[in-house]
Amino acid sequence: MANKINISKHFLLIVALFFVTFTSFAYEPIDAEKHENAAEPKEQGEKAHEESTTFDAGKMILEHVADSHDWHMWGEGEHSVSIPLPIIIYSDKGFDVFSSAQFHHGHASFLGKYNYRLHEGSLVVFDDITGTVDEEATLKLTDFSVTKNVASMLVTMLLMLWVFITVAKAYKNNQGKAPRGLQSFVEPLIIFVRDDVAKPSIGDKRYEKFMPFLLTVFFFIMFSNYLGLIPVFPGGVNLTGSISIAMVLAGFTLLITFVVANKHYWRHVFAMPGVPIPVLIILTPIEILGVFLRPFVLMIRLFANITAGHIIALAFFSLIFIFGEMNTGLGFGVSIFSLVFTVFMGFLELLVAFLQAYVFTLLSAIYFGSAIDEGHDVHNHVDDHALEKH
């Protein structure tokens, strides 16, 4: 994991180097030329903001990485084509359900129980007369909308249902024979999760009851990671890089750990056997914190890795337009480097997509394993843990 973050850091460094070396001689475009070239990113289909004619990479990247209320396909501003998604709002006055098309890409308000409007990507109560956000009323809203992430999540889940129910049928029809087609693609992964993740971390006897969760989490993360790498609909959504999704997945891990945890586990958390009481005063809070920290780290790791991947890919593309604004030729020149690096990063992301699914599943399995570990002798406790790792 540390490796992956290091690599990301290195790439940011390389990106920074690009800025330093090229700006020194490229920072002299005439104003008129600058305006001409500013139109280019628009033509290329990238999202540039209406008001300012300059290209804002940070804003573009965040817009692509973050959740939104419609599923953007192509184009920008007024001309952009996107799939409208249902908006579901719960407030003190009850539910409001309508289509996000009503907002006209954030340029119009919709009058339901309140006057809603999209403001900087989030749903607010808007005062059309003064043209300001009603902060007080906005706090009363709870947004249950089927956003881009929710829609993408549903797509992923439907895909999973289709794939695995088809495979299950194939197993029934193909009973006792060698796997075929989709079945032979999925089987090694299932066996990998079973033999290399579940069995060594949980134990040969009790791993079975955790298999459905581990497999579902593994394939959900893997499917959505890979879908996220496909730039066109229905992919390209930074689903597992959404903190809410990662939080729910880690929450499930925590919940299952709590449900299956035995006396031995709780005793180790609250009163580590064989540790003197004064030490326990320090150790117990740390252990309790650790219980929650583990899933928290799971969440952050998944979120950060996937989001970083998306950001880096977008950053490389942004470079083209940043340099293109300075000089058209420079833009084309940089595009070669950007493309090479993006392809390279793409390959890395293919690996990371699998790796993150594996790591999340493996760590979940290890937590479950430690929660149901019976332990033997109080004095042997250190040895037990050493044995566990083998």
């Binding site: 990485v65 973050a66 889940m157 249902l161 695995f164 579902t216 999704i245």
Partner: protein, 164 residues
């Protein structure tokens, strides 16, 4: 930061749909798939074990066959040897028996010949004796048929006596 702010709506939808998909996949996918994989692994393992057993059996059978072959060969040799011995013995026996019988027959024949010879000699002797007696009788008869002859004889005999 918009990016790290969890959204309640998304969490809600994710929690609900993940629970549903977990349930659905557990029931309709993982259970049958894992079951079938396990079953197949078991059957493959069994098949391999069976093959191993068969191999062992084959090996045992083969060594058994070899043993039987060796035994059979030995038995055949023995039989041949026995047969040869029996044949030789039979020939020897037959030869011995024939010699003995020949000798016995020869002895009997010799005895018979001897007996016949003795009988013939005895008969011949008897015949010669009776013939001699007859001849003597006839001679005596003719010698003593007339008085003169009887006188001559007595003279002759007396002459011999005078000499003594």
């Amino acid at each position: 930061m918009e990016l790290v702010k969890p959204s309640i709506g998304l969490i809600f939808w994710m929690a609900v749909s993940f629970s549903i998909i977990l349930f659905l996949l557990k029931k309709f996918a993982w259970k049958p798939i894992l079951g079938m994989i396990k079953e197949r692994e078991q059957s493959i393992e069994n098949a391999l074990a069976a093959a191993e057993n068969a191999k062992e059996e084959m090996k045992a059978l083969q060594s058994n066959n070899e043993r039987i072959l060796v035994e059979a060969r030995a038995e055949r040799d023995q039989l041949l040897k026995d047969a040869r011995e029996i044949r030789e013995k039979m020939i020897a026996d037959a030869k011995g028996l024939a010699t003995k019988e020949g000798e016995r027959l020869l002895t009997i024949a010799r005895d018979n010949i001897q007996n016949e010879k003795m009988a013939a000699i005895t008969e011949l002797k008897n015949l010669v004796a009776s013939l001699s007696i007859e001849i003597a009788e006839k001679i005596l008869k003719s010698e003593l048929s007339s008085d003169e002859k009887q006188k001559t004889l007595v003279n002759t005999l007396l002459k011999d006596v005078n000499l003594n």
